[in-house]
């Protein structure tokens, strides 16, 4: 399998007054297309920072991150936004759904930004919800859904535009272990369909399912 994500000597520095904090410190790692990678590490070690940089939400201070041949750190906002839109699905710990909108409307959101027409938008959103097992909940609002169901809506949203990569930052962190396992199996199914899956987690039972575990400590990566 070819390398999909190539991270080289990547450093992310935060300045808090006089203090300088390297949230990521000279990180180098590669992820191949179709891989299922778990990123683990103690709280504050830089996992989310790494996830944000891979997902194009944040930019490195130094070093490069090349996804599918293009350097994210050199992209203008327009291209980077399109990258997030088309190549990447982000699943949050806290779901980040719009409480006043139905599951269907939430899933449709990324499709507005890539100019998918009204009809196709509805069709695709329905498909995505069906594929995560929520075909009978499309008109429910997040408040009417359980935590596990909410996270599935979020996964459906991440799926909407057929991303190459799904990155989930502690997707089971707000769920009990049974629901967590359910979410994991949904994500694993997607990985089996060819989507590169990166899960950030504390939970060793989840991490063990991955084909590779990347451990981060104080912003440094120890490959295994």
């Amino acid at each position: 399998m070819p390398e999909l994500i190539k991270i080289t000597s990547l450093t992310k520095t935060y300045k808090l007054g006089d203090e300088i904090l390297n949230a990521l410190d000279n990180v180098t790692l590669n992820i191949r297309a179709g891989e299922f990678v778990a990123i683990t590490g103690p709280s504050g070690s830089g996992k989310s920072t790494l996830a944000n940089i891979i997902s194009g939400l944040d930019r490195p201070t130094k070093g490069s991150i090349i996804v599918d041949g293009s350097d994210l750190s050199k992209m203008k906002d327009r291209k980077l936004s399109d990258y997030r839109n088309k190549n990447l699905g982000y699943v949050f710990q806290s779901f980040n759904l719009q409480g006043n909108q139905t599951a269907l409307e939430n899933v449709m959101m990324p499709m507005y930004f890539s100019r998918v027409g009204h009809k196709d938008r509805h069709k695709r959103a329905r498909e995505c919800l069906e594929s995560v097992g929520l075909g009978d909940r499309i008109n429910h609002k997040p408040g009417q859904l359980s935590g596990g169901q909410r996270q599935r809506v979020a996964i459906a949203r991440a799926l909407a535009l057929n991303p190459k990569i799904i990155i989930a930052d502690e997707p089971t962190g707000n769920l009990d272990s049974v629901k967590g396992q359910e979410i994991l199996s949904v994500l694993k199914d997607l990985n089996e369909q060819g989507i590169t899956l990166i899960i950030i987690t504390h939970d060793q039972t989840i991490a063990r399912e991955a084909s590779r575990i990347i451990k981060i400590h104080d912003g440094k990566v120890r490959l295994r």
Binding site: N52, D82, R84, N85, N96, P110, Y112, A160
Partner: protein, 462 residues
């Protein structure tokens, strides 16, 4: 993002915070309604007046007066031998002839204002003051709108008059004008009247006897002329003379302008005519096309040294006051709109603060900075658009409510015009476009702020 999707999402956001959006829009409605209604009133009034004049062909008319400096408006007193007005040129028949031969001139009306000859109009016990006795040969140029009876005709001889509706009202015939037709009234002269119908012999004797001695009061007996009312004209007709005007046939007015006196000791009757001495009080010159009026007026001034004023120039000047009023009133509404714009800025900043996390999510799933910027700019513009549209609607409802009141008022003044309050299309469009632009401008800064939010921080925002 697609244009329609921007509108859809902006509308969805507006309807999410119903009360806040409604209050913001309400402020815009107040501003836009006041601008719209004020401008509607001003422009409707202007249109109304303009149309009244246009209907009467007034813009094709030029007033010519012996006095060089005249104001358009048919109240020029002309010149007479007693008056000390300087710069007077007698308007003789020869001048009238020459004017009527000028290019573009299609007709001339001669007017005689009988000055200072009569002071009272008597009918039964009623004694009314006479303001103006006037004669003119209408010539199809000047038309009076008659409320009852008929207008004076060239064939009419001495002894008939028309009076204005205000006179008829004062005589107690309001809404009953036709009852006055055929009634005889008395025109009561001033003391020294010596025109047609007077007794110059008796008057001269009286003057001889009593007026050479300054200690005596000198008041020769007045003359009373019988006059039959044949028509009531509308006091409000913008073309007509003053509100209280008595119109007489030309032949009678010519007689009234005579001055007769008996010479002593020869006892010879001496007759002079003020008309030949002073000329006509005024001419109304009609030109073929309103656009030629100003030029012809200038030619008349230059060639004959008389005063000449065209209606259009004068009316346009007078109407410019409406423009000024319009701008002032519109300005007040404009201030309301500025305040409303501040409301939009406030609403948008609040809404963006509340939706920080949502903005983060939108960015995470692929919204560009420009997308976020446009989305919020659309939202603010839409607030403006809705406010403007509702404002125009409210203004329209106000004109619907106002028109019957004004119609009534006009009817009371014998003007048949209906529903003069009307919003011109350009006003509707400018108000709606204007408020939309105001909303857009008010949205620029908040939208920029929203677009510049860092997505990671926005997602972490509680």
């Amino acid at each position: 993002m697609r244009f329609l999707d921007y509108i859809f999402l902006a509308l969805r956001n507006i309807s999410r915070q119903k009360l806040r959006s409604a209050l913001t829009i309400f402020a815009i409605v107040i501003g836009s309604t006041s601008v719209a209604i004020m401008l509607t009133i001003v422009f409707s009034a202007k249109n109304f007046i303009n149309s009244q004049f246009e209907k009467n062909g007034t813009f094709q008319q030029i007033e010519v007066s012996p006095q060089q400096s005249i104001q358009w408006g048919r109240n020029n007193q002309g010149c007479n031998s007693q008056s000390s007005v300087t710069g007077c040129v007698n308007i003789t028949d020869s001048i009238v002839n020459k004017i009527s031969k000028l290019p573009h001139v299609i007709g001339v009306t001669k007017e005689i204002a009988v000055q200072g000859a009569f002071d009272g109009l008597f009918y039964g016990h009623k004694k009314l003051q006479v303001m103006q006795v006037l004669a003119y040969d209408a010539n199809g140029i000047v038309t009076s709108s008659m409320l009852a009876g008929r207008d004076i005709r060239p064939s009419d001889g001495p002894g008939v008059i028309t009076i204005t509706s205000d006179y008829a009202n004062a005589l107690g015939f309001k809404n009953n004008y036709s009852k006055l037709i055929g009634q005889t009234v008395i025109l009561h002269s001033t003391a020294f009247y010596s025109g047609v119908g007077s007794n110059p012999v008796a008057q001269s004797q009286y003057i001889q006897q009593f007026c050479n001695n300054s200690t005596n009061q000198c008041s020769p007996p007045a003359t009373e002329l019988k006059a039959k009312i044949i028509g009531i004209s509308n006091s409000n007709s913008p073309i007509g003379p003053g509100r209280y005007t008595i119109r007489v046939p030309m032949s009678w007015a010519t007689g009234m302008e005579e001055q007769q006196s008996v010479q002593y000791p020869s006892s010879q009757l001496k007759v002079t005519n003020l008309l030949t001495q002073n000329g006509y009080s005024q001419l109304i010159v009609k030109v073929d096309n309103a656009s030629n009026a100003a030029n012809v007026a200038q030619t008349i001034r230059k060639d004959f040294g008389v005063g000449a004023a065209d209606a259009e120039t004068a009316i346009k000047q007078q109407l410019s006051i409406f423009n000024i009023i319009g701008y002032i009133l519109g300005g007040i509404g404009g201030i309301a709109l500025v305040v409303a714009a501040v409301g939009v800025v406030n609403t948008m900043i609040m809404s963006i603060l509340e939706r920080t996390r949502e903005i983060g999510v939108m960015r995470a799933v692929g919204a560009r900075r420009s997308t976020i910027n446009r989305l919020f700019t659309f939202e603010a513009s839409l607030l403006g658009l809705l406010g403007g549209a509702l404002g125009v609607l409210l203004c329209y409802l106000l004109t619907l409510a106002g028109n019957p009141l004004i119609n009534n008022q006009l009817k009371g003044n014998n003007i048949s015009s209906q529903n003069i309050l009307a919003m011109p299309t350009w006003l509707i469009l400018s108000v709606i476009i204007g408020t939309t632009v105001i909303g857009l401008l008010a949205g620029l800064y908040p939208a920029r702020r929203a677009a510049r939010l860092d997505p990671v921080e926005a997602l972490r925002f509680e």
